[in-house]
């Protein structure tokens, strides 16, 4: 296997993906699940986007892919992909770009698969339509890919319908489809949440290997912080439509933001270290997409808040260690 191509980029090269102040809303102006995101992903980098349900993770993913659900609109901001703001591209150009340079993997693989086509036809279709391959050629490419993602009998799998497969096998097929055209960016939205733990590990390893080989950047979306610690080189912690903290993968050992610290304490620790421990929940619940808090969105639940916190929104500012933190008290946090 080749070295993961994530050496620091020269300053001149644009990052693979750069999101600037992205806001996505529904209907009236009040309903704003994604409130202003800023982050970058380098070429070949594996980054994690972690957040609880309703924090806006999936909407962000769909926003980048250009697959916003009905009624959702971009409200603000830029999505720079390889230096170009894709929101300014004509729709057709944009579709073509995301179709060939981005791949997406979903939580429930069945939603990504067509139940009335065989698995093989669906993969071959990509090669036929996008690369203009002939039937037979496309079929061979599809079988080769199915075998790369670890389907034990690719020819039999080619002719099977998705419902015949277990969840893990379906997810392998979806990974094959997402990687068929060698995309530069792969977005995986909770790809293992619906799977059993031992199968989830298989899928993560597969995803890791396949994207390393291709040098693709990965945005791995999950609510499970523990999962990311062994996987991502960079982690973005999202809450109420905003990034609250950005750290290197190891940063989860010593998170700086009070929310991230709370999240770490609420996760069941490794079984080898948990005897006599208890979970420390975060009190209360996250604000909804309609809630307008003038200050820090975490303030109602934050054990460290003071009056200043509810007055204005703290900025996402660089913190020592190369990360960024959105908290007025990051100095106290040892940052």
């Amino acid at each position: 296997m080749t070295e993961p191509p994530n050496a620091p980029l020269p300053d001149t090269a644009p990052p693979l993906l750069e999101i600037r102040d992205l806001a996505i809303g529904f209907g009236d102006g009040d309903y704003l699940p994604v409130k202003g995101l800023d982050f970058r992903l380098a070429k070949g980098e594996v980054a994690g986007l972690v957040g609880e349900s309703g924090s806006g993770k999936s909407l962000t993913a769909y926003g980048i892919m250009g697959l916003l659900p009905f009624g959702a609109r971009y409200r603000r901001g830029e999505i720079l992909f390889q230096g170009r703001d894709i929101l300014k591209l004509p729709l057709a150009v944009r579709r073509a770009l995301s179709g060939s340079s981005m791949g997406m993997i979903f939580q429930e693989p069945l939603t990504a698969l067509n139940p009335v086509l065989t698995v093989g036809e669906q993969v071959a279709e990509i090669f036929r339509i996008r690369l203009g391959q002939h039937r037979r050629e496309a079929r061979e490419s599809a079988c080769a890919l199915l075998s790369q993602v670890g389907l034990p009998n690719p020819r039999a799998a080619y002719a099977s319908y998705p419902h015949r497969f277990s969840g893990g096998m379906r997810q392998r097929v979806v990974i094959a489809m997402a990687l068929a055209l060698d995309p530069d960016l792969v977005i995986a939205d909770e790809p293992t949440t619906a799977l059993d733990p031992t199968i989830a590990l298989q899928i993560i390893r597969l995803l890791k290997d396949m994207t390393y080989q291709r040098g693709a950047g990965v945005l791995f979306i999950t609510h499970n912080l523990r999962l990311l610690s062994g996987l991502a080189e960079r982690i973005f912690v999202m809450y109420a439509g905003l990034i609250l903290e950005e750290t290197g993968g190891g940063g989860m050992a010593a998170p700086l933001h009070p929310y991230t610290r709370g999240l770490v304490a609420a996760h069941p620790p490794n079984p080898s270290e948990n005897s006599g421990k208890s979970l420390v929940p975060i009190p209360g619940q996250a604000p909804g997409p309609r809630d307008r808090l003038p200050g820090c969105p975490f303030a109602p639940r934050c054990p460290e808040r003071d009056e200043a916190c509810s007055r204005s929104l703290p900025e996402l500012l660089p913190a020592p260690g190369g990360g960024r933190v959105r908290c007025f008290r990051r100095e106290d946090a040892g940052a």
Binding site: P197, G249, Q285
Partner: protein, 444 residues
């Protein structure tokens, strides 16, 4: 905590403080003569009764049973085929406990030989459960959507012996389809086993009369996996929480109100929310409501199926801590069913791990991770131990067994890195060692 002793009700016994089991609060006769038994004795109709050994779940709960096994929709239960076959006649009608190895798929009792009768409040003795397919086109279509063809029947539980000790916190872990929920439902009499029996305080539940069954259903509560679908959307929180009290004819309206308010406080919900409907609550609040409902009849045993897996981590921790508080505060016996070994090992004193409808290991928490584990448990342990350096390295190949067509011999053999000749043909028996730890592997 609110005092909810009920004022002068001749017919119904007073309710004690919400956090104390009825008996220990000293205001109630011992279990056998509890309210459930009252109804038939006084000639009034009791709560609705289900099949022979079934627990009469409140009506809305029955739909919950169905919806939470949507995945398995289309299968119905069959009348216990060959019930009794395989259970030695000598045991029939005995008050007792399994004292020797049971024949369950060659597995010896993980409760061990020579156990003392009073130790186990609930005991599953060599239980089996197969779900048969429904016939016809509808069945075909469902098979299509479910992603497999179940026409041979799904062998969810294939011979399990497991005891639940009074007052313990037992964790039941397994991957999806391993049969853990089915076992939990058998233990709570929501499903009759096809074979084998469930003993409650040493008594075979199959022989329960209506009164005993009703008392059982009050004393053993099951909390369903999915809070959204196990709550009746048309009932307010108040009706949801007082329904059980009404079914069991406990207290008058005023007393019930006090009790329900006490329950709301116990689970951290504001009693002012009592007139709300389920959709007006968040996921975490709905799970609190489910917990309050399960506690409303002051049970002694609570069987919680994936109590927190539908929730966010920060909320999951709230629910888990509430469960633990209820356990210690009320002296509950807690059975937690989950796929998450990290979570279960945090809250359980003893952990039972299932695979392919059978038990692989039963182990006290103190020695978890300190013994030579069953090969499957090793892999499960590795998957729960995320760390910076190892990442996801110890990875099991292959897929879990097909419950319709489980492999012969050891159910884990197709994926087991240590499998050898015998494993394919012979099911390993349950063996004890070190004390308190039982495991089913030829090489342990």
């Amino acid at each position: 905590m609110r005092e909810t002793a009920l004022p002068g009700l001749a017919a119904s016994p007073p309710l004690p403080a919400a956090h104390l089991p009825l008996e220990r609060a000293g205001r109630l006769p011992p279990a056998a003569a509890l309210p459930g038994s009252r109804a038939p004795a006084s000639g009034r109709p009791g709560p609705p009764a289900g099949g022979s050994a079934r627990c009469p779940a409140p009506v809305h709960l029955r739909s919950a049973v169905d919806s939470s096994v949507r995945r398995a929709a289309g299968l119905r239960e069959v009348s216990p085929v060959g019930a009794g076959e395989g259970s030695p006649a000598g045991r029939e009608g005995s008050p007792g406990f399994p004292v020797a190895a049971s024949p369950g798929n060659g597995q010896d009792s993980p409760a061990g030989a020579g156990i003392v009768a009073g130790d186990y409040i609930l005991y599953a003795r060599d239980v089996h459960k197969t779900f048969r397919p429904s016939a016809g086109v509808a069945g075909e279509i469902r098979a299509l959507f479910r992603g497999r063809d179940d026409r041979d029947g799904v062998r969810a539980v294939r011979g399990i012996d497991l005891g639940v000790r009074r007052g313990e916190s037992l964790g039941l872990v397994g991957e999806s389809g391993s049969g853990k929920s089915t076992l939990g439902r058998i233990l709570s009499l929501l499903y009759p086993p096809d074979r084998g029996s469930v003993l409650f305080e040493g008594k075979d539940a199959a022989g329960f009369g209506r009164a005993e069954r009703s008392a059982f259903c009050r004393r053993v509560q099951f909390m369903f996996q999915d809070p959204a679908s196990s709550l009746n959307p048309r009932l307010t929180a108040f009706r949801t929480l007082s329904e059980g009290l009404a079914i069991h004819r406990l207290g008058d309206r005023r007393a019930r109100k006090a009790r329900v308010e006490g329950l709301m406080e116990e689970v951290g919900l504001d009693p002012s929310l009592l007139e709300r409907y389920p959709h007006q609550f968040s996921g975490g609040q709905r799970q609190r409501l489910c917990l309050a409902r399960a506690l409303s009849l002051d049970p002694e045993v609570l069987i919680a199926d994936e109590p927190s897996s539908a929730l966010d981590v920060s909320i999951q921790a709230q629910i888990v801590n509430l469960l633990l508080a209820a356990k210690t505060g009320r002296g509950l016996t807690l059975v937690t069913i989950s796929h998450d070994l990290a979570l279960v090992s945090l809250i359980s004193g003893r952990i039972a791990i299932m695979y392919g409808g059978l038990l692989m290991e039963v182990i006290p928490r103190e020695i978890l991770g300190r013994v030579e584990h069953h090969p499957y448990v090793k892999a499960l342990w590795a998957s729960a131990e995320y760390s910076q350096d190892t990442g996801a390295e110890l990875i099991l190949e292959g897929e879990p067994p097909d419950p319709q067509n489980p492999p012969g011999g050891c159910p884990f053999h197709p994926r087991c890195p240590e499998a050898a000749g015998d494993c394919r043909t012979e099911a390993p028996p349950m063996k004890e060692g070190p004390p308190g730890r039982f495991t089913a592997c030829h090489f342990r």
